[in-house]
């Protein structure tokens, strides 16, 4: 057992309907007690969806507990089929059905024999996988199912398209800025003359999945959802995939170069020419994206060496760390993720770009890390935003879990060249908010509090500050005061000094070179 009241990733039965209901005309039926269908609330509220969420529950109640579901699941499935005429129904197990251990596979078999639509059981275990891995697995499962089916019926589209095309795999409902990203990716591909074969799962039709292998390669923008599918397509159909997230100018260029490699293999044969995307990258980086220019500008110079903490899912946290460190010269003191299953990749990606790596799904650990690191800005999820509020540190939200304000109506991609502009705005705004606060303090602000009240958490009983040094400390901008205080005390303790005078403060300053 574990004491918790917040979590970064949801349970598995959120991930499965996220993928299922992203497809057109696919329904999910949860084997769940009353009240577990709050996925519908999230989708209807956060995404402001106009359609009824195609997720229903086959209710587990006392009777089910006593006698088993019997015909209930089968009846609910066939009824849904009659009412909505879906192409596919995905039966979704929950934590409850994990323990009941009913033979759901048998229900699926029975339901599919009497119906003209497909029924599959999502192969996810509540106690083993979280929302993201369940979504990844479900997508792979659906793709595998339909490709196998097409294989049997010999309707599989295996011939390569005449012009270079790509599948975009992994944009789904309730994903962080996924819809905007998808539009930006399409634009990016169009810019280099690559067509989009299919986008799955968002807006895709399961009936079209048999033509997935016609694309020249697959693009997996997010590691969390879609990678399994891409790996499967690579193994089974030899489709190469690009899994570098085109987030930030460097990684976007990297991603495009990888696409060039994929396309380059076939281009001489099918297009009778070589492809070269370098001029495109150059043009976009210098003139369409403002980010490269921004990193040269005076604004960004002011940010040099500022301290930041990054936390989020593996994709966004890694990309953000790299952008801050390499593109903007910001000092990332800690980069972290809650995607514990991807720790190897994450570590490899961010090492060298940050002082410390934190992999945890315990929100208190993240909060403690932020309090300890005392960054100037945080880039995290909604949870880190609230930690920031408590500690008075600005926070830019870069990853799920998110609130309704992170489903903006306006165009806000995170990927591609327009994405780099959005990110630059976010970073700059987070830091200038901090700067404003700082300037307010510097120029006669409203700072009249006594030192003792101002720095919490860092008080030390063995050390005392004399009046003069307290006065000196209160002159230091609030923004960095905590840090100066902590460093001075650390210096004093290190040198066995009990009473801190102004002299000690200066000595500490020289010692730390701050």
């Amino acid at each position: 057992m574990k004491l918790a009241h917040r979590m970064h990733a949801g349970p598995a039965h959120i991930g499965t309907p996220r993928v299922a209901s992203s497809f057109k005309n696919v329904h999910a039926i949860m084997h769940a007690p009353l009240g577990d269908d709050y996925f519908n609330v999230m989708r209807s509220m956060l995404e402001r969806d106009r359609e009824f969420t195609p997720v229903a529950a086959s209710i587990v109640d006392r009777h089910v507990l006593a006698r088993g579901s019997q015909d209930k699941v089968v009846d609910n499935t066939t009824r849904k089929g009659r009412e909505e005429r879906p192409d596919l129904i995905v039966l979704t197990p929950t934590c409850t059905s994990s323990i009941l251990q009913e033979d759901l596979q048998n229900f699926v078999r029975r339901a599919s024999t009497t119906s003209d639509f497909d029924v599959i059981l999502a192969d996810v275990n509540h106690y083993r996988v979280d929302e993201l891995r369940a979504a990844d697995r479900t997508l792979e499962q659906v793709v595998r199912y339909y490709l196998k089916k097409a294989h049997g019926r010999e309707t599989l589209g295996r011939s390569l398209a005449k012009i270079p095309t790509a599948n975009i795999i992994g944009t789904s409902t309730l994903g962080f800025h996924n819809q905007h990203d998808c539009r930006e990716l399409k634009r990016l591909l169009r810019g280099i003359g690559i067509g989009v074969n299919q986008v799955i799962p968002e807006g895709g039709l399961v009936g079209d999945l048999n033509n997935l292998p016609r694309a020249w390669f697959n693009l997996v923008p997010y590691r969390e959802v879609g990678l399994m599918t891409a790996v499967y397509l690579d193994e089974e159909y030899g489709m190469p995939y690009v899994s570098t997230t085109p987030m930030g100018i460097l990684d976007t260029a990297d991603c495009i170069r990888q696409m060039q490699e994929c396309v380059g293999k076939w281009a001489p044969v099918l297009l009778h020419r070589e492809v070269n995307y370098e001029p495109f990258i150059d043009q976009q980086t210098r003139f369409v994206s403002q980010a490269a220019w921004f990193s040269r500008s005076i604004d960004c110079q002011n940010l040099t060496g500022k301290r930041a903490v990054v936390f989020g899912d593996a994709t966004h946290a890694a990309a953000m760390t790299k952008i801050l460190a390499r593109e903007m010269g910001i000092h990332v003191c800690c980069a972290g993720t809650y995607c514990g299953h991807d720790v190897g990749w994450f570590t490899e990606r961010v090492s060298g770009f940050c002082d410390e790596i934190l992999v945890t799904d315990d929100h208190t650990e993240v909060g403690d890390m932020i309090a300890r690191a005392e960054p100037t800005a945080i880039f995290g999820t909604q949870m880190e935003r609230h930690v920031g509020k408590r500690l008075d540190i600005p926070c830019g939200v870069i990853s799920s879990p998110v609130h309704i304000q992170n489903f903006p109506l306006g165009y806000r991609p995170w990927l591609g060249y327009e994405g780099t502009n959005q990110i630059a705005d976010l970073v700059y705004n987070s830091f200038t908010l901090g700067m404003e606060d700082h300037l307010l303090d510097l120029f006669g602000g409203h700072d009249t509090e006594a030192v003792g009240e101002m720095t919490h958490a860092l008080t030390d009983k063995e050390l005392s500050w004399d009046t003069e040094s307290q006065l000196e400390l209160s002159k230091i901008p609030k923004f960095v005061r905590g840090k100066i205080k902590a460093k001075t005390e650390k210096f004093a303790r290190h040198n066995g000094i009990g009473k801190i005078t102004v002299g000690v403060m200066y000595a500490a300053k020289e010692n730390f070179g701050a």
């Binding site: 057992m1 574990k2 004491l3 918790a4 009241h5 917040r6 979590m7 949801g10 349970p11 039965h13 959120i14 769940a32 007690p33 009353l34 009240g35 577990d36 269908d37 709050y38 519908n40 609330v41 999230m42 209807s44 509220m45 402001r48 969806d49 106009r50 359609e51 009824f52 969420t53 229903a56 529950a57 209710i59 587990v60 109640d61 006392r62 507990l65 609910n76 009412e83 929950t94 934590c95 409850t96 994990s98 323990i99 009941l100 509540h126 106690y127 083993r128 979280d130 949870m383 609230h386 509020k389 609130h403």
Partner: protein, 459 residues
């Protein structure tokens, strides 16, 4: 005689039709009651013994509240707990000790969930021993989605708390005093001292609770306590001779517990929602204590008078309750009194005995207003309801958040039902708040038609 009685009770409901559907409807899980109960009972701590599913629900349902330091937490069950590789008692004790150390509550409420039911974790059995070892009272409530819907969660918690109330001592003494001694005369005969102890049950924001108490005080009825009180230590005394009355329609288990286990006498009254309900509620309590209510009609009329602007908005409009929080019958009754037509009252569960007075008032209201009785649908089927709504085209649908936006996109105004559980809707002074909620979308519609009511492509 018996037969006549039967006929009577048949007659009472002859115009009320109850239907029961499949139970495929959307509602909140009953563990959501921790959201308002931890705020109500200030020195409590709620420990929900469940899985990530429960935790994620609370996190999403409670929105911003969880980012404050809430006095609730999940005891999140992991695979080892389910397969009994870990010892339940030891694990729970570890967490409870941590809670006591960090938060120092006066009571810990364990909320049992579907998972604890299925793995048959004996929370009730563990609690007494744990209590002595941890040194804090532990109340166990099984608020799970297998058995209950949304607000019924509060019912299970209050029913469990009813067992923790002290025994009412003065009962025998009081009775003896009343029967043997001559009635006190002159100034001593203050009406306050005449009514036997009255305990009201149901969690209300403290301001609303004191408003209701003072309404009763106007009629010289003294309220001796509330279940729950602001603090766990202030739970009222219960026992023989204590009268109890509910303020919310979803408290039937609590009512049963109070009657059967604590030997209290239940006053069955309509619920104090809307000025009509509030008057009927007070009248019923007064009648039980043999008090003639003073100026109650006038007070009600004044409230109606003050609602005039809103009433003109709602009169003649139709409303459809999809049903998810058990407040539906009371709200429907109030809205009918306001002149609205109610097409359907969906309700998760209808306790016809506990709600008898409310249902009678509902029928009376329908006769009085010459509005046809709505159908009452227990355990509704959301899909079928949507089909019915498509035909009826109600002016307003009162529904959960899962259906609200899709209905709006189809040109049907909606009101989230959840808001009624969090807003202040009880008593005379809050009738306006109910109408404010009800009319919000109607008032918005009054801003004029922009020409785009239907926002979906009908294929």
């Amino acid at each position: 005689m018996n037969r006549e009685k039967n006929d009577m009770s048949m007659k009472r409901f002859e115009t009320l039709t109850f239907e029961c559907e499949t139970g495929n409807y959307h509602t909140f899980c009953p563990i959501s009651c921790v959201a308002w109960l931890y705020q109500k009972i200030e020195d409590s701590f709620f420990l929900v013994v469940g899985t990530k599913t429960c935790g994620y629900f609370l996190q999403n349902a409670l929105g911003v509240m969880i980012f404050a330091e809430p006095r609730y937490a999940m005891a999140e069950l992991e695979e080892g707990d389910i397969s009994a590789q870990l010892n339940d008692y030891g694990e729970l004790k570890r967490l409870c000790l941590q809670v006591v150390r960090d938060r120092g509550p006066s009571v810990i409420v364990w909320i049992g969930t579907c998972t604890t039911e299925i793995v048959k974790m004996d929370l009730e059995g563990m609690a007494p021993r744990m209590e002595t070892e941890v040194g804090v009272p532990i109340v166990v409530a099984r608020a799970n989605g297998l058995d209950y819907a949304f607000t019924q969660g509060e019912d299970t918690v209050l029913a469990a708390m009813a067992h923790r109330c002290a025994e009412h001592l003065g009962a025998d003494q009081a009775r003896r005093t009343r029967s043997s001694l001559p009635k006190p005369l002159g100034p001593q005969k203050t009406p306050e001292s005449t009514n036997p102890p009255l305990v009201l049950f149901g969690s209300l924001p403290s301001m609303v609770a004191s408003q209701l108490s003072s309404e009763l005080k106007r009629q010289s009825v003294r309220v001796s306590g509330w279940l729950p009180a602001q603090r766990y230590a202030d739970l009222p005394a219960l026992g023989t001779g204590v009268f109890v009355c509910g303020v919310n329609p979803f408290l039937s288990r609590t009512a049963t517990t109070l009657m059967r286990r604590r030997k209290c006498r239940l006053i069955g009254a309509p619920f104090p929602i809307g000025p009509d309900g509030t008057r009927a509620w007070i009248e019923k309590i007064c009648s039980v204590f043999g008090i003639q209510p003073q100026g109650l009609r006038d007070r009600e009329d004044l409230v109606w008078e003050s609602l005039k602007d809103y009433l003109s908005l709602v009169r003649g409009k139709s409303v459809f309750f999809m049903g998810d929080n058990l407040l539906e019958a009371s709200l429907a009754r109030f809205l009918m009194r306001c002149g609205m037509t109610v097409y359907e009252i969906g309700v998760p569960y209808m306790d016809k005995r506990y709600q008898a007075a409310e249902l009678a008032l509902l029928r009376e209201t329908s006769e009085h207003m010459c509005i046809p009785m709505p159908r009452i649908v227990e355990k509704p089927d959301n899909y079928d309801q949507l089909q019915r709504m498509r035909e009826l085209r109600p002016d307003l649908a009162i529904t959960g958040m899962a259906n609200a936006n899709p209905l709006e996109a189809r040109g049907i105004d909606t009101k989230w039902s959840v808001e009624f559980t969090f807003a202040q809707i009880h008593g005379f002074s809050n009738a306006r708040d109910i109408l404010q909620l009800i009319t919000r979308s109607l008032r918005r519609s009054n801003m004029g038609d922009l020409g785009w009511t239907d926002m979906v492509n009908v294929v």
